[in-house]
Symmetry: C2
Subunit: 489 residues, 2 copies
């Protein structure tokens, strides 16, 4: 059992005047942030939020969002971040699954039903009966439930502990070093694990976050230059946009972590040529973000690899239940203290994916003799569009509900900007006068916009293997010779 004093409060004691957080709204030292979080935690406690309470939040990134995340940690409550890109219907499914004690929103969430909810502005402007100054954190305690991208079945909430966040922060520091004046440009959503971990790294390392509510290449570059940012986390799509700017990278940048999707070798090399010290990383929600990183020294000869596991994480390649020797491909298994404790109220899924401390990622790859991991395929057929994971089966299930659709296969197509885009091959009943517009309109109420197919193809049949599994690679090949639905003949 490991305990820790509250991380933010510790930094407020040791580095009271050091910059902790800067946004368009203002800036906070560690002391200032600590006091604001203490007040907010007091307000939440006055509303009955306590240890183990679940608090969902549907918030765009802002100083208030960061404060809420720290306040929940201090109360030893469980954060349930909600993806702000989901439709109301998708959100309701998550909320029904998480059964939060409170939903915090910023007014843009249209909730139905008698859910206890409150606007963040109301919380921030209230005075507590007394602030909550400090806490003792239990590393084994549940800290957050972070939902992976939806599947056709029930949503899967990954249970992350306090310790998972700690070890993620330590793994990064041991790999990349830790400098007293690090400043992290934070342009990632706070509802994904990648964005959340940066918030905790800040208070565990004592480094500053410069928070931009949404990514815009030009303004990200400006902010990094003005604020002398040293660290940046991006998905490949963001890096492409930064590279499209005429300027070289800001000189202060010492590392750019590239995650969320496979990073093409060509992108890495272009980035370094333009002064961005970008390294591929590999991680999942279930591993509390980044667990494998390519060392900058290896970028020029090993850019196709994701690198080696951060200490003390172990990676093993498994096929038919047996660990594979170097060079042999197989499923990527991960063991280490950042591995989640399982899925929320999902004992079957937990049993399937977690075995004796190992997490079976469902991804396919190989370790070479020098310990480099190459991720070759996503067993789960996930499409990754600009860092967002999309499950084809979920999109297919929605399309199938449309009258006139006989069959459907969803697949990813390579895209220079987004990495992948979503495409759908549909078999339409000739007796039904279904138009593309009708189909799209129907889907738009049910699917987040990033999950909506960008391209549709009308086909006569969906290729399947003997067991009925859709052959998505065949669809990708066939799509090359087809005209898109809706294109003029």
């Amino acid at each position: 059992m490991v305990f820790s004093p509250d991380w933010l409060h510790h930094q407020a004691m040791v580095h009271p005047e050091r910059l902790a957080l800067k946004t368009a709204d203002g800036q906070w030292t560690f002391r200032g942030l600590d006091q604001a979080v203490g007040r907010l935690a007091g307000v939440l406690r006055d509303r009955g939020i306590a240890q183990e309470s679940r608090v969902a939040f549907h918030l765009w990134p802002s100083a208030a969002t960061v404060m809420l995340i720290h306040a929940l940690t201090r109360l030893q409550a469980v954060a349930v971040p909600l993806n702000t890109r989901l439709t109301t219907q998708e959100l309701m499914a998550l909320i029904q699954d998480a059964e939060p004690d409170l939903v915090v929103h910023d007014g843009r969430l249209a909730l139905t039903g008698p859910l206890p909810s409150v606007a963040i502005d109301e919380l921030i402007t209230q005075n507590p009966s007394s602030p909550v100054d400090d806490a003792v954190l239990d590393f084994d305690a549940l800290h957050a439930i972070v939902y992976t991208s939806g599947t056709t079945g029930r949503p899967k909430g990954v249970q992350l502990t306090v310790g998972n966040q700690w070890w993620s922060a330590v793994g990064f520091a041991l790999n990349a070093g830790l400098h007293a004046h690090d400043r992290w440009l934070h342009v990632m959503p706070l509802f994904h694990v990648g964005g959340l971990t940066i918030v905790f790294r800040s208070v565990i390392h004592g480094s500053a976050i410069i928070l931009e509510p949404r990514f815009d290449a030009e303004s990200a570059w400006q902010v990094m230059s003005r604020e002398s940012c040293t660290l940046l986390s991006v998905v490949p799509t963001m890096l492409y946009r930064l590279l499209a700017l005429p300027e070289q990278a800001p000189a202060s940048l010492r590392l750019v972590l590239l995650g969320g999707a496979p990073a093409p070798v060509e992108l890495i090399h272009r980035a370094w040529n333009k002064g961005y010290p970008a390294v591929p990383t590999y991680g999942l929600t279930e591993t509390c973000s980044q667990i494998v990183t390519l060392d900058p020294d290896d970028v020029f000869h090993r850019a196709a690899s994701s690198g080696r596991p951060n200490l003390p994480t172990e990676v093993r390649i498994v096929r038919d239940g047996r660990p594979m020797p170097a060079g042999e491909p197989g499923e990527i298994w991960v063991r280490g203290p950042t591995v989640a404790r399982g899925y929320w109220r999902h004992p079957d899924a937990t049993r399937d994916a977690f075995l004796d401390g190992w997490f079976k990622t469902g991804d396919w790859g190989a370790l070479d003799a020098d310990g480099f991991l190459t991720v070759t395929d996503r067993v789960k057929d996930i499409i990754i569009r600009g860092g967002e994971n999309i499950y084809p089966s979920e999109v297919e299930a929605r399309i199938r509900t449309v009258a006139g659709i006989r069959d459907v296969g969803v697949f990813g197509l390579e895209d220079p900007e987004w990495g992948q885009i979503v495409a759908a091959a549909v078999v339409v009943d000739p007796a039904v006068p279904l138009t593309l517009e009708t189909l799209q309109k129907h889907l738009s109420n049910q699917l987040a916009s990033y999950k909506m197919p960008s391209k549709y193809f009308r086909v006569d049949e969906i290729p399947r293997n003997a067991s009925g599994k859709i052959l998505r690679t065949v669809l990708v090949q066939r799509a090359r010779g087809l005209r898109e639905w809706g294109e003029s003949e």
Copy 2:
């Protein structure tokens, strides 16, 4: 349960060409050190050393000693470092207590009895049947038994785990930062926890050790300058000697950790004025070295304090079993993942000192409202001479065995160079013609030279309190007015 790949092997994979170790004998990259350690581990395994084997070593600091320490970690054996300053009699007591499977020495150890032992040179020059390339370390496994300074009773071996070393390294990094090109000048004995932790920090952080077998101020300064050392751990006595040099501190030094004994404020200030960025630290064998550190920002207004606990260690002040509020003095208790799992085969001592995850240090101090720890007194009456702990009761017990000694009280006297020196007040039977020379000669076979009193005073009685406990502070006061035994009248 936490596991980790072998730390040294990890660094050899990620930073093969980075300097790992440099001594007068040569230098090793992480790859080179990893290979040497793999061979040595193979030789030890061929001799039957395996998981949980106990291997004592009586070695002066050298590259071979560092390799042995890493080889034992790789074999998941238990290291039992022996203080090279002890007499044969003292050493035999430790060896009888530890019951090692093997004693490794460098030829200077005169062992009696049928102990399995081997010279380090023999191990280093042998070829193994095959090397041991890697390991999976279990954080809960026993990693070392480190003896605290002897007491009158049985020796107390502190049981440190693999995890204790890991957390010690991480606690330092989060506090002091971690730079890719850190180089640690290592001038501390490898049989104390302070010197051992530096060896593991090197392979956990990926930083280099520049090892000097013994401390000499002039050559330490030369080496630091030539090798661009950034980090240095010293006891106050060593720092005094560095400050006596005419030169300013080498410009590369970014931090000097001052441990092992209370650091006078005046020393800290003189150090900074001469360019040594020295910070007081506090730690014990039972906490796997440094757990409290003063931040450089606080040196000029808080130099009398040892600073604040490193994350995630907690410190509490306890009196009569109750935690004290800020400002109130009491016994210093420590909780955290660097706290040892207890004393080797000493259930009573373990029960007395360890309670619900807290370790009762036996030291006295206070935490102020800002969280700064000030260590005011050593409850255990320890004398700290140049970083070595000396128990007065042990020295008294030896003196009492000398014919003609009726009573004795041993106490520490302040000394500008050593911090403290050992003094003894003796009541001599007037009927016995005991000379100082006879007394000293008798003691020299039984006490390590650093424990030998530097000053003797003849007195008529030893002051005691009602329960018979020697009043050592009274002895200190009285000694001021007395002439030393042996001084000319």
